[in-house]
Every structure is written in structure tokens, then in C-alpha cells.
């Protein structure tokens, strides 16, 4: 999973802004629990993607606590499309071999 974290995070955020916990929940739910990672390890990747200009983030308030919400930038959308195409080509190739 480590090698696909960027694609998974970008894809999770394509439907709209989410905070860290929301991203982990969405990831777990979409994968039917298959991606059950140490949740804190998502944040370093989010910071890196933000530093690379693929995500932007801002503080909001929720339940009296400060909450950082992440969303895709235009560059992030482009990167998501590129990585998804690459992944689909790879997945099709693997499928053609193993089935």
C-alpha cells in the first residue's frame, strides 16, 4: 500500500474537502476495511502532498476544536488523473496475465 498512498489520498479527496480523520474513514469505508493503516501515518503524506502543491488546507472549527481540512488543488486533480491512468494501465496488464 505504501507505494500507492498518494493516489489513494488524492482519490479520496476528489469528492470534496475532508479532514485527516475523515480521509482515513473514507479510505477504510471505500476499501471495505482493506486499507487499515496506522492512522497517524496519513498526515506526513498529506503534508508532503500539500508542500508539492497537490493539496491545499485550511483551519476550521468543529466541536470546539481546531480542524485542518484538505482539498485537491487543480494541480492535484491533474496528478490524480495521471496516476489513475497509470494505475488502470498497470491493473489491466496484470489482469490480462493472471486471468
Amino acid at each position: 500500500m505504501k507505494g500507492h498512498v498518494d493516489l489513494l489520498l488524492l482519490a479520496t479527496l476528489r469528492r470534496g474537502p475532508l479532514h485527516g480523520y475523515g480521509i482515513v474513514e473514507a479510505l477504510r469505508s471505500a476499501s471495505a476495511g482493506a486499507f487499515d493503516l496506522a492512522e497517524g501515518t496519513v498526515y506526513p503524506a498529506l503534508y508532503r502532498l500539500e508542500a508539492a502543491g497537490l493539496l491545499s488546507s485550511s483551519w476550521t472549527k468543529a466541536k470546539g476544536r481546531r480542524r485542518r481540512v484538505y482539498e485537491l488543488t487543480n494541480r492535484g486533480r491533474g496528478e490524480l488523473a495521471r496516476e489513475r491512468d497509470e494505475w488502470q494501465a498497470f491493473a489491466h496488464a496484470v489482469e490480462a496475465v493472471v486471468t
Partner: protein
């Protein structure tokens, strides 16, 4: 429990060198996450593991950016150096053996220091261009950071020595050369200091990621040989170039002396900094 966890995470983040502002943000986000449901604390991961992930992810990027920024600043300093060096031929300096001691020391410095800076900066950039991973081994980050730091330090020393030389020779040289050199140095030194700030931040990040630092043969990408033999060949080559240039200008004796000094300085630099900069293992 959450408070204890956040204290432990804070300690670990300090331990791996995460800057204070970023640390506050990480802790605020972690607290929001941990209070979202009762099981979040168990699923979040060990504080040491999380802190190390941050340092590893941020460290590679920080070291790369610092090396590229340093090389750009050193490029400008190199332009100042080249303009001053070429201009010196037309500035009407008296012969160097009549210069005051401080000017002679500055002259030796402006000959040796930029070579150390160029080699260290180029090797830092080569290492950055060669490595593609999102996360780099700690030893490799140390190599990049050391090379960047040495390149900037010797770049600043070069510019300072050039300034000293211009001031020491101000009464015996063309005014335009003195002014040109001092203005160039006054621009280049602050830029180099600015480039040193991200390098200092990068050097503070200390992730624990296993891996080999490599040596200069990994950077240069050609056949591995005994590093001392390679350094000897480079030193002889440099010495020959210095000798030939002087010989063409009609001063072979001076060229032989300077060429020998250049070769010895090259070997001395390799002995002093070779291991520190991972030129040799």
C-alpha cells in the same frame, strides 16, 4: 490518555528535529483526530513511528530544496567571482609579492575556497538529481546536508576574502574594480546566508531510515576504483592544467610552483573532507 500520547508525540517530534510551528500544527491535528472516536488512539500509531514518518517525508524534500537553493545562490556568487577575476587583469594591481600579508592570505583563500565550494555544491546537486525516492536513508540526507553546508560555508568565505582583497588593494587598483567587487560581494553574501537558512532547517531533521550513504563513485556514475588513486589522478590533472596555462603565458617556473601547490591542496582537501562529504567510505 490522549494528553499523555500528545506529550509523547511532542517529545518524539522534537527528537527528530521538526520545527516548532509545524509541531504545533501536527499536535493540533493529532488531537482533533484522537478525540474523533474512542478507538482512534489505538489505531493512530506509536508516537516514535509517526514522528519518524514526518521527519523522513519532510527531510528528503527539505534537503533537496536546500541543495538546489544553495547551488543557485552559489551560481550568482560564481558570477561575481568570475567578473571580479576577469576584471582584475585590467585593474592595474601591483605584483602579488608586494601585497600586504592580509591581501596575500585573501588571495590564497579566493583560489582554494571556491574550488571546495564548487566541488561540494556540485556533488550535493548530483546526489539530489540522482535520488528519486520520496523518502531517503538518513545517511544519504546527512551527505546532502553536509555537502550543501560546506559549499555554502566556503562560498561565504570566498566572497568575504574577495571583499578583503578589494579593500586591501583599494589604493593600488582601479576604482571601478574595487567598487565592482565590493558591490558584488555585498549582494552575494546575504544571498548565500539566505540559502543557508533552509539548509539549517534540513540539517535539523533527523529521521531514522536505514540505508547506505554511498560515495563519490555513486554520484559520478563511472567505474569504481581506489578513491585515493582517483583523488591523486584528479590532483595531477589539476596541477598540469595550472602549469600549462602558466607555461602558455610564458612563466613555466611559476606554473610549476602553482601547479604543485594546486595538486597538494586538492589532496589535502580530499584528506580533510573526503570522509565527511562521503567522497570515500
Amino acid at each position: 490518555m490522549i494528553e499523555l500520547y500528545l506529550e509523547a508525540l511532542d517529545r518524539e517530534l522534537v527528537g527528530v528535529g521538526i520545527p516548532v510551528r509545524l509541531r504545533r500544527r501536527i499536535l493540533a491535528e493529532a488531537e482533533d483526530h484522537l478525540r474523533a472516536d474512542d478507538g482512534a488512539l489505538e489505531r493512530f500509531g506509536r508516537p516514535a513511528e509517526i514522528a519518524n514518518e514526518f521527519a523522513a517525508e519532510l527531510g528528503a524534500r527539505a534537503s533537496r530544496r536546500a541543495a538546489v537553493g544553495a547551488f543557485a545562490a552559489l551560481g550568482l556568487a560564481g558570477a561575481v567571482y568570475a567578473v571580479s577575476f576577469v576584471g582584475a587583469a585590467f585593474a592595474g594591481h601591483p605584483p602579488p609579492d608586494t601585497w600586504p600579508l592580509l591581501a596575500q592570505l585573501a588571495l590564497v583563500t579566493v583560489v582554494i575556497a571556491p574550488q571546495v565550494s564548487f566541488v561540494a555544491g556540485s556533488l550535493a546537486l548530483l546526489r539530489v538529481l540522482r535520488t528519486r525516492g520520496l523518502v531517503l536513508p538518513s545517511a544519504e540526507l546527512t551527505v546532502i546536508n553536509r555537502r550543501t553546508g560546506v559549499a555554502l560555508l566556503f562560498g561565504i568565505v570566498t566572497m568575504a576574502a574577495l571583499g578583503v582583497l578589494a579593500l586591501e588593494l583599494r589604493n593600488d587598483s582601479a576604482g571601478w574594480w574595487v567598487a565592482l567587487t565590493l558591490v558584488g560581494v555585498a549582494i552575494a553574501i546575504p544571498l548565500l546566508v539566505l540559502a543557508a537558512l533552509p539548509a539549517a532547517v534540513a540539517a535539523r531533521l533527523r529521521p531514522r531510515v536505514a540505508g547506505d550513504p554511498g560515495d563519490m563513485f555513486d554520484d559520478l556514475g563511472f567505474g569504481r576504483t581506489d578513491p585515493w588513486r582517483f583523488a591523486g589522478l584528479v590532483a595531477i590533472g589539476l596541477g598540469l592544467v595550472v602549469f600549462l596555462v602558466a607555461a602558455v603565458q610564458g612563466d613555466p617556473f611559476d606554473g610549476a610552483v602553482n601547479g604543485t601547490a594546486e595538486a597538494l591542496a586538492c589532496l589535502a582537501g580530499f584528506a580533510a573532507l573526503g570522509r565527511y562529504l562521503s567522497l570515500r567510505r
